[in-house]
């Protein structure tokens, strides 16, 4: 009986250390995930979103620049291309659509809406973005630049 308890304690001891390692790796993974990997595409002339809101005011992670190298979705869920953990942003909030060198923005039925230059977009209607448009999603404001 004592031996069984001993074995359980030993196994438990080792597994807690492994759990510790996994929890650290998970935290690290979450950090990496929210880094925008496509920073490399910056000088290739893709359209970009630049952060307008002061980062210090936001309690979650946002990049300074997001590069729209392809059509991208934005939202709170991890499967989006641009993940922002703002509680005012819906799971899948909106989509940037690249077509023939133009960029369109479509609200994917979000709860709090998408504002372009302080005007709310109609749900599921794609609208053309112009250079230096100000896009407000949740608590975050971006300036849209079109690139070349």
């Amino acid at each position: 009986m004592v031996e069984v308890i001993l074995l359980i304690a030993k196994v438990f001891f080792a597994s807690v250390i492994y759990l510790f390692i996994f929890s650290i790796i998970r935290l690290i993974y979450l950090d990496i995930k929210s880094m925008n990997v496509s920073k490399v595409n910056l000088d290739k002339g893709f359209p970009t979103l630049r952060l307008k809101t002061k980062r210090g005011l936001l309690p979650f992670k946002v990049e300074d620049i997001y590069v729209l190298s392809k059509s991208m979705t934005i939202g709170r869920q991890d499967k989006n291309d641009i993940v922002i953990k703002d509680s005012f942003i819906s799971g899948i909030h909106a989509q940037f659509i690249l077509e023939n060198g133009e960029v369109y923005l479509r609200d994917l039925g979000s709860k709090n809406g998408v504002f372009v230059n302080e005007k709310k977009l109609e749900s599921n209607n794609k609208s053309l973005l112009k250079d230096s448009d100000i896009i407000k999603i949740g608590q975050v404001e971006f300036i849209f630049t079109k690139g070349e």
Binding site: I17, I24, L27, P59, S87
Partner: protein, 435 residues
């Protein structure tokens, strides 16, 4: 209403992050409690002193970690990983010799104070790369001091004893050497004789010659001290930094090629080195003499099995130097090979995090310093763990953060403090400045 909601949501996100940060800390607490419970209840009468130890260690670790989180020290995982290593180390030392463990706790307190001092002083002083002369002169001074006033402990004359405290100057010297490498490679090959009227080509040649001279001077002094582990460590760090930052491939090949005759000369002329290599190839030919240490270490690791004999139930005191050099074998015996592998993994994620700081940083000097310091910890771990499991020839250096040893622990904390400070600078400039 809107304002209220906004506040609430921020609080929610904040709470999530907060809890996520403290989960690993809880696991450290668990590990400590289980470990010391083993030690307390292993035999009657029960040893309640163990729980006091547990409490002191945890209090120190938790307070430091909370300070790091609250004061936003930048990178927060480094200290967590180190806390886990420290807890495992102190647990093992306490099991081997409770007196040593108390001393180790005092050293840990000193180490944590040094950690915070290093952190603040590194951030205070801006131009660390300007002091290249100091980084060269101070180690040489310390080496000469060690040679004159040094004491021989366990075959290596690398200890200075001041007022009852013994410390190893080479522990500080290796950090200074990394700083020297940093200031040399900041503007590559442009450190010395910039104002003289040699031609450009000659200047570069002289610089390279001086770099090699300083490196081999360091190694030479260490040969006089019979400190083989640190020599291997310094030369490995030198070659790695050269490989990464030097654009001159011929110079790199020359340095690698020089390593071979150096090793051969060492093997030919130094009895110590020859013995180390011989017992590495076959420890069984002289099990009771030269091969005793490594053989006992292997027996220890073997008798542990997957989950070990349980803390306090094995015979780790059979291994010589179980609390310093051979602590990894003692851990493997009593806590099991699984824990041994976990220790290696902990060092891996520690190095990974530190490398990531090096990748993000913009200043070239700090990049090299972070890389060099990380290599110091990583290589030191590799050399000693490789040594005790008979993967490479055994050399006596400590396992950073785990082994007993004041100067080793303090120097490891200096390294950690510098890494933390550089990561903070990176966080505040790179803008990852959040909860």
């Amino acid at each position: 209403m809107n304002l209220f909601l906004q506040k609430g949501s921020r609080w929610g996100v904040f709470m999530f992050r907060k809890i996520a940060y403290y989960i690993p800390l809880c696991m450290i607490v668990f590990v400590n409690i289980i470990g010391y419970a083993f030690l307390a209840f292993k035999e009657e009468p029960y040893n309640t002193q163990a729980f006091l130890m547990c409490f002191i260690v945890l209090a120190m670790l938790c307070i430091s970690y909370i300070v790091i989180i609250k004061k936003r020290f930048g990178e927060s995982y480094l200290f967590l990983i180190v806390s886990m290593l420290l807890s495992i180390g102190i647990m093992m030392i306490y099991r081997l010799n409770s007196g040593l463990a108390v001393k180790q706790i005092v050293w840990m307190l000193v180490g944590i104070v040094v950690f915070f001092t290093c952190y603040y002083s590194y951030l205070k002083i801006d131009k660390w790369h300007k002091y290249a002369v100091l980084y060269m002169a101070v180690p040489i001074l310390l080496y000469i001091l060690t040679l004159v006033f040094g004491t021989t402990i366990n075959g290596a004359k690398n200890w200075i004893i001041i007022a009852g405290f013994s410390f190893q100057p080479s522990e500080i010297n290796k950090i200074l050497y990394v700083f020297f490498l940093g200031s040399y490679f900041k503007n590559q090959d442009k450190l010395f004789f910039q104002k003289s009227n040699f031609s450009e080509k000659n200047k570069i040649l002289i610089n390279k010659a001086l770099l090699m001279f300083i490196t081999y001077l360091n190694a030479g002094f260490l040969v006089l001290q019979r400190d083989w582990g640190t020599i291997a460590l310094l030369l490995l760090v030198y070659l790695f930094v050269l490989y990464i930052f030097s654009e001159d491939n011929k110079f790199l090949i020359l340095n690698c090629a020089l390593l071979l005759p150096t090793a051969l000369i060492g093997y030919k002329f130094f009895y110590h080195v020859r013995v180390r290599v011989e017992i590495w190839i076959d420890p069984w030919q002289d099990v009771l003499g030269k091969g005793y240490q490594i053989a006992q270490s292997l027996f220890g690791i073997g008798s542990g099995g997957f989950f070990g004999t349980g803390l306090g139930m094995g015979k780790p005191y059979m291994i010589p130097f179980a609390s310093t050099d051979f602590i990894f074998s003692a851990i493997c015996e009593e806590m099991g090979t699984m824990t041994g592998v976990a220790v290696v993994l902990l060092y891996m994620i520690l190095c990974y995090r530190a490398f990531k700081i090096a990748l993000n940083i913009k200043s070239r000097f700090e990049k090299i310093v972070v890389l060099g310091l990380t290599l110091l910890i990583g290589m030191q771990t590799f050399i000693i763990i490789g040594g005790v499991i008979k993967l490479i020839p055994l050399t006596g250096i400590t396992l950073p953060f785990v082994s007993y040893g004041g100067s080793s622990l303090v120097s490891s904390f200096i390294i950690l403090g510098i890494l933390q400070a550089i990561s903070k600078r990176d966080f505040s400039s790179g803008g990852e400045n959040y909860g």
